[in-house]
C-alpha cells in the first residue's frame, strides 16, 4: 500500500505533523491498517528529500515540525488519483485506502476514480479470461491460479459498483456535482461523517 500517497492526500487539507498524520490516516481507514509514527517520519523525510513536501515554519513548543505540500507534491497526488491501482502491488489495500481518503477529501472526483479503476480491472479480467480460454484442462494448478485472479477481479468490480451505488444514494445532487469540478466542502463533510461514523 502507498503510505507516501496517503500522506500527500492528508496534507492536501493543510499542514500537519507526523503524529497528526498517523491519527488522521487511522481514523479515515477505520484503523484497518495501523501505521507507526516511525514509518510516518521515515516517509516524510523521503518526501522532503524528493521535494514533494516541505517544512511549514518553525517547530512548535514541543519541537514538532508541521509539513505542507509543495507544487510537485500536489502534482504527484493528482497523478495518484487519476491512475488506477496496479495489480502487481498489494492491490486491495491500496484501493480501499485510496477510496477511503477520496470520500473524505473535498474536490476529489470519486466517481471518476471508481470508473478508472473499474475499466482497468475489467481489462485485466478480460485478458485473464482470454488466457483461460486457451487452457486445455491439462494443467489444473495453472488454471486454479488463473481462477483465483478472476475471482479477485470480479470481487473488486462488485465492490466498486457498491461504492458507486452508495455514493449515489448518499446525496444524488452531490454525486452529480462531484462529477464536475470541486465539491463544496460542506457537501463532502456529509460524506465524511457518513463514512467515519458507523
Amino acid at each position: 500500500m502507498s503510505i507516501k500517497h496517503s500522506l500527500l492526500a492528508l496534507l492536501h487539507e493543510g499542514p500537519m505533523y507526523g503524529a497528526q498524520l498517523r491519527g488522521e490516516f487511522e481514523a479515515r481507514t477505520g484503523g484497518t491498517w495501523p501505521l507507526n509514527v516511525g514509518q510516518v517520519y521515515t516517509t516524510l523525510s523521503r518526501l522532503e528529500r524528493d521535494g514533494l513536501v516541505a517544512g511549514a515554519g518553525a517547530p512548535d513548543d514541543e519541537g514538532r515540525i508541521a509539513y505542507e505540500l509543495t507544487d510537485a507534491g500536489r502534482a504527484e497526488l493528482d497523478a495518484w488519483w487519476s491512475v488506477p491501482v496496479g495489480r502487481e502491488q498489494t492491490p486491495r489495500n491500496e484501493l480501499a485506502i485510496k477510496l477511503a481518503l477520496a470520500v473524505t477529501l473535498p474536490g476529489v472526483d470519486v466517481q471518476q476514480i471508481v470508473q478508472t479503476q473499474r475499466t482497468a480491472t475489467m481489462t485485466h479480467l478480460r485478458d485473464l479470461t482470454r488466457l483461460k480460454r486457451t487452457a486445455d484442462g491439462e494443467d489444473l494448478a495453472w488454471e486454479l491460479v488463473l481462477e483465483s485472479l478472476v475471482f479477485a477481479d470480479e470481487a473488486e468490480i462488485r465492490w466498486l459498483d457498491h461504492v458507486e451505488a452508495r455514493i449515489a444514494r448518499l446525496d444524488p445532487s452531490q454525486a452529480k456535482a462531484s462529477r464536475t469540478a470541486h465539491v463544496a466542502s460542506a457537501g463532502s463533510a456529509g460524506v465524511r461523517e457518513a463514512v467515519t461514523r458507523r
Binding site: T119, H124, L125, R133
Partner: protein
C-alpha cells in the same frame, strides 16, 4: 479503414428520448459505437443507464430520436417496414431474458421457425436447426417441448434460435440472467464462438465475468458512454504479473 467494408453495426450519435416535455426521459444521449465482424462488445452500466434501449435501437426494435443506426452500411431509417423485418429475420439474432419459446413447438421447430418464415425450404431449415442445437450441445433434446426442458436447456434452445442460419449480428440482453454459473458460461462460450466464426455481437450484462468474454467492454451511465476497455494485453505481460 477501407471504403468497401463496413462495421456490422454502427451507431452514430444515437439519441433516444421517451416521452416529451418535462417528463421526458433521455435514455440515450449521443451514443456512438462500431462493432466489426468477428467482434464481441459487452455493455455494462447501472440499472436504468440505457443498456436495453441501446440494444433495442441497434436491433431495429426501437427507432432512435436522433443520430443514425447502420447495419452492414445500410442506414435503418432508409428502410421500409418489410425490409426491416427481413433484415431482422435474416441478419440478426436476438437473445432476451424472457425466452419466448413457442410452447406448442418442439425445440427443433422453435429453432427452425425463423428460417421457415423466411421461406427457406423445410428440409434445409430443419438441418440448420439441428446444427444450431448441436452447437449449444443439446442435440438430443430436439424433439422435446419447452415445458419438458429445464431453464438452462430452454435458454440454450433460445440461443440456438438466435444463431441459426449464420446470423451476422447477434444481440443479447442479459442472456445468462436466470442460469447457474456453468450454464451461463456455456452460453458465453457459444456466443464467443459465433463471433470467432465471423459474426458481430453486442452483449448486455451486469456480470463482469461474462463481460470478460468480450473483446471490448463499454460502460454506460445516464445514456452516455463514459469509458471503454482498451486493447488486449499480451499473454506474456499477464504471466509476468502472476508469477
Amino acid at each position: 479503414m477501407s471504403t468497401t467494408t463496413h462495421p456490422a453495426l454502427l451507431l452514430d450519435g444515437v439519441e433516444r428520448t421517451h416521452g416529451t416535455g418535462p417528463t421526458a426521459v433521455h435514455a440515450l444521449r449521443g451514443v456512438s459505437l462500431a462493432v466489426e465482424p468477428g467482434e464481441l462488445v459487452a455493455v455494462m452500466g447501472p440499472s436504468g443507464s440505457g443498456k436495453s434501449t441501446l440494444l433495442n435501437v441497434a436491433g431495429a426494435l426501437d427507432a432512435p430520436t436522433g443520430g443514425r443506426v447502420l447495419i452492414d452500411g445500410q442506414e435503418l431509417s432508409a428502410l421500409g417496414r418489410k425490409q426491416l423485418d427481413r433484415l431482422r429475420r435474416r441478419t440478426m439474432g436476438f437473445v432476451f431474458q424472457d425466452l419466448n419459446l413457442i410452447p406448442s413447438l418442439t425445440a427443433l421447430e422453435n429453432v427452425s421457425l425463423p428460417l421457415e418464415l423466411d421461406g427457406v425450404a423445410l428440409r434445409t431449415a430443419r438441418a440448420a436447426a439441428r446444427a444450431a442445437l448441436d452447437k449449444v450441445r443439446i442435440p438430443e433434446l430436439a424433439d422435446r417441448f419447452p415445458e419438458q426442458l429445464s431453464g438452462g436447456q430452454q435458454q440454450r434452445a433460445a440461443i440456438a434460435r438466435a444463431l441459426v442460419g449464420d446470423r451476422s449480428l447477434v444481440l443479447a440482453d442479459e442472456p445468462t440472467g436466470a442460469l447457474d454459473s456453468t450454464t451461463g458460461e456455456a452460453v458465453l462460450r457459444t456466443l464467443r464462438q459465433q463471433c470467432d466464426d465471423g459474426a458481430a455481437g453486442l452483449l448486455v450484462t451486469h456480470e463482469s465475468r461474462h463481460a470478460a468474454w468480450a473483446d471490448r467492454v463499454i460502460f454506460l451511465r445516464d445514456g452516455v458512454v463514459v469509458d471503454s476497455t482498451g486493447d488486449a494485453a499480451t499473454p506474456e505481460s499477464l504471466l509476468d504479473r502472476v508469477v
